[in-house]
Assembly symmetry: C2
Homo-oligomer: 202 residues x 2
């Protein structure tokens, strides 16, 4: 028998968070109600604003509430002539945390996956191709995940670079195969950026 | 370098949830933004309403948005003459899940802890004493946690019962000592309710 419908709704809603099952949801709800209602209200406000106002950077496609994100908007980042291509916004945080990279990014928000109907336009490669045509880009660092799909996506983008005569490199496979970029430790990721290999075109 | 202030705020706010560190907060924020914005908005709404509208039942002190909760308000529950005294609202869920109990509850929202300055009135024992005086109660089942503080609190309430000539019992120690009631499996908890022992007064 329930003593509070609002409490049940809160527990249900908390389960939209990844890794939160019924037991965790219950602990979270009771914790907030008993010990931190102000924190709960602040979280409600932060969620509501973020879900409504955060869109994608028109240049790199990462999450931002502005038209162009702070990284793309930074002239020093532009001067490097480097663009690091990653699968997700979380990968930007991982690369930034290494301190080994000072260029810009391009976020695919996924990878090519023909079987799921995800083609080049679905991961923004039309936008990327326009940038290859119109911007002075020296090199694209392909930092997609070292998975089958990530490798195929990197290969596809390398061929785009070749067409537009822009250099392309792949981060070194210090990153364990089959893993997810955002979970790799900083040292391994640093080595993989420093030891990146020029791609041989087929 | 941050690409979104709202995203940073969201990650910070998520850390008010128990068991959520920086890595989990990041995964949660990206998950909602990428895959479930509607879920994120629903969670914001549920949090906001719950934190604002949920108070305590005037009879049993559990969480509810009504003056009297659905359990206290149920005449069949009243007819049993039983009140199960627990430390937290989560313990009500645990006892309800056993299906072994059809009476009412009283939630202490803690336990006696003289060193922390938590005395009888802080855990609602003034309210409970009025109920012992004015309601036809047959028996109080003392289901506080099997910890030092829980045992001391049960003993204190047993003495209140003796003063007011109301029966008192303690749930059987099938529950492992030093544990938390809400984490115990249903079978163990069922046995502990069925095998409850009449208290001997000092
Ligand atoms: Zn950008
Ligand atoms: Zn109640």
């Amino acid at each position: 028998m329930r003593t509070s419908q609002l409490l049940e709704q809160l527990m249900d809603s908390l389960r939209c968070l990844p890794g939160v099952g019924p037991k965790s949801a219950q602990r979270m709800a009771y914790h907030l109600l008993q010990r931190n209602r102000q924190g709960g209200l602040a979280l409600a406000q932060a969620l509501s604003t973020a879900m409504t106002d955060i869109g994608h950077c028109s240049q790199c496609r990462t999450f931002t509430e502005q038209d162009v994100c702070a990284i793309c908007d930074n002239p020093k980042r532009q001067e490097t002539g480097l663009i690091c291509v990653v699968e997700s916004p979380a990968d930007i945080s991982a690369v930034e945390a290494t301190g080994q990279y000072a260029g810009r990014y391009f976020v695919l928000m996924g990878h090519l996956s023909p079987l799921d109907g995800i083609g080049p336009a679905d991961i923004g490669l039309d936008v990327l191709e326009k940038r290859l045509q119109h911007e002075p880009i020296q090199e694209l660092i392909l930092a997609t995940n070292p998975t089958v799909e990530g490798e195929a996506t990197a290969q596809y983008i390398a061929e785009l670079c070749q067409e537009h005569q822009v250099g392309a490199s792949r981060i070194a496979h210090g990153v364990p195969m089959g893993g997810e970029l955002e979970l790799v430790d900083g040292t391994t990721l640093s080595h993989s950026i420093i030891g990146r290999q020029q791609l041989k075109y087929r």
